[in-house]
């Protein structure tokens, strides 16, 4: 199966093509085909995982050079190593659950089939990203994932907020992608190849200068910052909740945002090569996690809370990976790599479940606002328990999967006091806000009577995936039990295998933290012994700051978006002015030129033509003078010329003439002409006019 593992990615692509071109008008068939494809992919992924396990994690690589250029050879290939295998299973599992769920959730939507085609395209991109064996290919799929996420977030594009949200997501992740591109080219040029193996060998052997490694690592991390919604590019994730809930579950909980974490994990060798870069990674992860958790405390939209939770959990993973890099660069052991990857897997399951459950609740009460919910536990017999299971998992309660993975992260942070303190604080906040959500949604008095009355459990297509994911949320983490010899840690590792040891102290401390978080939420929202409003009032400025998401969006809007738009408008005006000016100028010039040509044509060309006619006429007029019709005039003229010629001959022949020119003749001729003109003008009047034709002369 491993040799054909590329099919895992291609089957969803086939589904996309089939639905778009052929099956669009048959909703059931499209959905069925799409689900069939992803389930087959899921089956194949499981087989690949088993085979990889059988190989003891030895990587399998197969590639195809599709064109050989001089400087680099882009290749498409697949790399199946433990990380990849695990990711394949995670992606296909959550993908399958989401697709099955969508049959119920998107029922009645006019673009039902298209939704499935987009989901399939997304799954193709994500699976391709995970399977890639070189940076070139991963970048292609990286972009594809961004594109499909844009399509899916903006699925209900008639809503202005959705249209804006998908734009925001795309642009923000694009900024990160730019950094990623710079980083990957840096490392590829120095390594001479895009291939992971080639690059990592070069980095590990120290052939690339550390400055470059650091810079490249940070740039590559930019991509992760964008895709995984880390600070400062986190602003798109909450707004991405405008998309349908299955989309949020698939993309923004389980898979796409995990791509950033996957990238960091994949490129760990580069990060290990630079302690500074890894520290940057870890710090950003921590900052993000803390910030997002704090915002999540006060949000009222069920999906927003979950979005910030995702952001925060991603920060956890990034931080863990960064700490691993930092520690390893400095020569220490760290469970960070294993912790990050482990949490990636478990988080996909319980966050997916949380989102799907939230979708179920929204489907029931038709609102996102938790302030309008309440007391839904009795009404939603499957949704509520699964949701609570997931919440327990994310809070990190023994023995659910979340407990084990979060614990490893705490262990990774334990060597760095500052990180440890914050990590525990974040764990507390996580537990608190998750259970605030639970209590406000499912327990207490229903705040909106009408909505409560209409609420009902979701159809089977929606609840079955919930159950399945709940199952995974409980048990999937057990592969990473710290005392297992051949557990997760020995399977997914970097460098040398890490044998986890159970740090009981940490486990107890983190459990206490989690339980206290839940307890506080219980007190505030279930028992109502501490009033939430009074707390909010006491810390009003802090509350406002948190409620408004630290004003990040406003800041970006003022600092970046507005100036960019103003600049764009200015450029447009300049451009339109110049270009319009040019065009109009060309037109004006053409008009002027044509006017000039017309003038030329009229005066000079026509003038020449008319002029030649005029010349002929005037010449003819001159010639006409001779054509008097009077015989005597003709005779006179003949005589005149005879005289002149004779004189000329005589004069030029005679030896008396001094100069060569016959002066006398010329003078005579001129004199004759002069006299002729004179006589005609003066002598005409009295002599000519008196005698008319009939007179007897």
């Amino acid at each position: 199966m491993t040799e054909h593992s590329y099919l895992i990615a291609l089957l969803p692509l086939l589904s996309f093509v089939m639905i778009i071109f052929f099956l669009r008008w048959q909703e059931k068939v499209s959905a069925g085909f799409s689900i069939a494809m992803i389930v087959i992919s899921w089956g194949m992924s499981v087989m690949v995982l088993i085979e990889t396990l059988a190989r003891h994690g030895k990587p399998y690589e197969a590639f195809y050079k599709f064109v050989e250029l001089v400087r680099f050879v882009p290749e498409i290939g697949i790399l199946i190593d433990p990380l990849t295998a695990v990711m394949l299973v995670v992606v296909t599992t959550v993908g399958a659950c989401v697709q099955i769920y969508s049959v119920g959730y998107m029922h009645g939507d006019p673009r039902f089939s298209r939704f499935f085609s987009y989901l399939s395209l997304f799954l193709f991109s994500m699976l391709g990203l995970v399977l890639a064996n070189n940076f070139f290919m991963i970048f292609i799929f990286w972009e594809l994932v961004g594109l499909t996420s844009y399509l899916l977030i903006g699925f209900w594009f008639e809503k202005a907020s959705a249209a804006n949200a998908c734009k925001k997501a795309f642009i923000t992740t694009r900024i990160g992608d730019l950094g990623f591109l710079v980083g990957l080219f840096m490392v590829a040029i120095y390594a001479g190849t895009f291939n992971y193996g080639g690059v990592f060998d070069k980095v590990a052997s120290g052939a690339i200068p550390t400055g470059i490694v650091t810079a490249a690592a940070i740039f590559i991390f930019c991509g992760a910052v964008g895709k995984s919604a880390q600070f400062p590019l986190h602003v798109w994730l909450p707004d991405a909740m405008e998309g349908p809930t299955p989309v949020s579950a698939l993309i923004h909980a389980a898979t796409m945002v995990a791509a950033g974490v996957y990238l960091v994990a994949r490129a760990m060798t580069v990060f290990v090569g630079s302690a500074e870069a890894s520290l940057v990674v870890a710090v950003i992860g921590l900052v993000t996690s803390f910030m997002a958790a704090s915002i999540g405390l006060v949000q009222n939209d069920i999906k927003r809370v979950l979005a910030y939770s995702t952001c925060s959990q991603l920060g956890y993973m990034i931080m863990a990976l960064g700490l691993y890099g930092y520690d390893t660069a400095l020569g220490h052991h760290s469970p960070g790599y294993y912790a990050g990857s482990f949490h990636l897997m478990t988080h996909a399951f319980f966050k997916g479940l949380l989102f799907l459950g939230a979708g179920s609740v929204i489907h029931a009460v038709h609102t996102n606002d938790i302030q309008e919910m309440g007391g839904l536990f009795g009404k939603m017999k499957l949704t509520a328990p699964t949701f609570i299971i997931a919440s327990l998992s994310i809070a990190g309660i023994f023995p659910l999967s979340g407990f084990w993975s979060k614990d490893e992260i705490v262990a990774a942070a334990s060597h760095h006091p500052v990180f440890l303190v914050f990590t525990l604080l974040i764990a507390f906040m996580t537990a608190f806000y998750m259970f605030r959500l639970c209590f406000l949604t499912f327990f207490g008095e229903p705040r909106d009577k009408e909505r409560f009355d209409h609420a009902h459990e979701s159809p089977k297509s929606m609840t079955y995936p919930l159950v399945f994911l709940a199952f995974l949320s409980i048990f999937a983490g057990w592969v990473g039990l710290p005392w297992l010899q051949h557990g997760f840690a020995s399977f997914v590792y970097h460098g040398e295998p890490y044998h986890p040891h159970a740090n009981w102290l940490l486990m107890i401390i983190s459990t206490v933290v989690a339980v206290s978080g839940i307890g506080l939420a219980y007190l505030m929202y279930f028992k109502k012994s501490i009033s939430a409003d009074s707390v909010a009032a006491k810390f009003k400025p802090l509350y406002t700051l948190l409620y408004n998401k630290y004003y990040f969006d406003e800041m970006y809007d003022a600092l970046i978006i507005r100036p960019t738009l103003t600049f764009a408008r200015l450029m447009w005006r300049f451009d339109a002015g110049i270009i319009d000016g040019l065009v109009n100028g060309t037109a004006w010039f053409t008009v002027v030129w044509s006017d000039a040509k017309q003038w030329f044509d009229t005066w000079i060309v026509d003038g020449a033509v008319n002029g030649s006619g005029w010349i002929v006429r005037k010449g003819a007029d001159l010639g006409r003078i001779l054509q008097t019709g009077k015989v005597q005039f003709y005779a006179f003229f003949a005589l005149l010329l005879v005289v002149l010629v004779t004189l000329f001959k005589l004069e030029s022949g005679s030896p008396d003439s001094e100069s060569g020119a016959p002066v006398l003749t010329i003078l005579l001729a001129v004199g004759v002409v002069f006299l002729a003109v004179l006589s005609r003008t003066i002598g005409r009047q009295p002599a000519g006019q008196e005698a008319k034709r009939e007179d007897n002369v």
Binding site: V643, V672, L675, S679, G683, A687, V697
Partner: protein, 168 residues
């Protein structure tokens, strides 16, 4: 240049010729012009006599004066309203033509006298002018003589044809 200068007779005749000639071309009344023409022709006959061309002089008087000039007078009578007012006789070319002709009249004699080359005569004039002319007419100039007669015939017929009454 011959040593002999023409005598007084020549000068008188010359004056008559020139004056009457000038009058011919200048007078307004055609009839007066015709009369001056006759006078002129007579004087020319006199010149012929001076030049030892007696027959020619006689012929001149007979033909020119007796026939041609009379014919001209006839035509004048026939075609002119003599009682009408006399008008200007010269057209618009008068001035310039006068100049050119004056030039001619002055220039040619000047040329002759300045550039003329005197060729002495080859022989003597025969004493019997008429007889000699008659002899030559019958021998050397036979052809022109006959042709001229044909010509006269043609002129005669032509004139009759031209001038006969039109048949309407």
């Amino acid at each position: 240049m011959p040593a002999t200068e023409p005598g007084v007779v020549f000068w008188i005749l010359a004056v008559v010729i020139l004056v009457s000639g000038f009058l011919v071309v200048t007078l307004r009344n055609i009839f007066h012009c015709a009369l001056c023409l006759i006078l002129c022709l007579f004087a020319v006959a006199g010149i012929y006599v001076l030049l030892n061309a007696e027959f020619l002089a006689a012929a001149q008087v007979l033909i020119y004066v007796g026939a041609v000039a009379i014919l001209i007078v006839f035509t004048v009578m026939l075609t002119t309203d003599l009682a009408s007012r006399s008008l200007v006789q010269h057209n618009e070319n008068a001035t310039i033509a006068f100049v050119v002709c004056a030039l001619f009249a002055i220039g040619v004699p000047w040329l002759i006298t300045t550039t003329g080359v005197w060729i002495p005569p080859k022989g003597e004039l025969p004493a019997d002018n008429v007889g000699t002319i008659g002899k030559y007419l019958m021998t050397d100039f036979m052809l022109p003589f006959e042709v001229v007669s044909v010509l006269l015939l043609a002129a005669l017929i032509g004139a009759i044809v031209l001038a006969r009454k039109e048949h309407s």
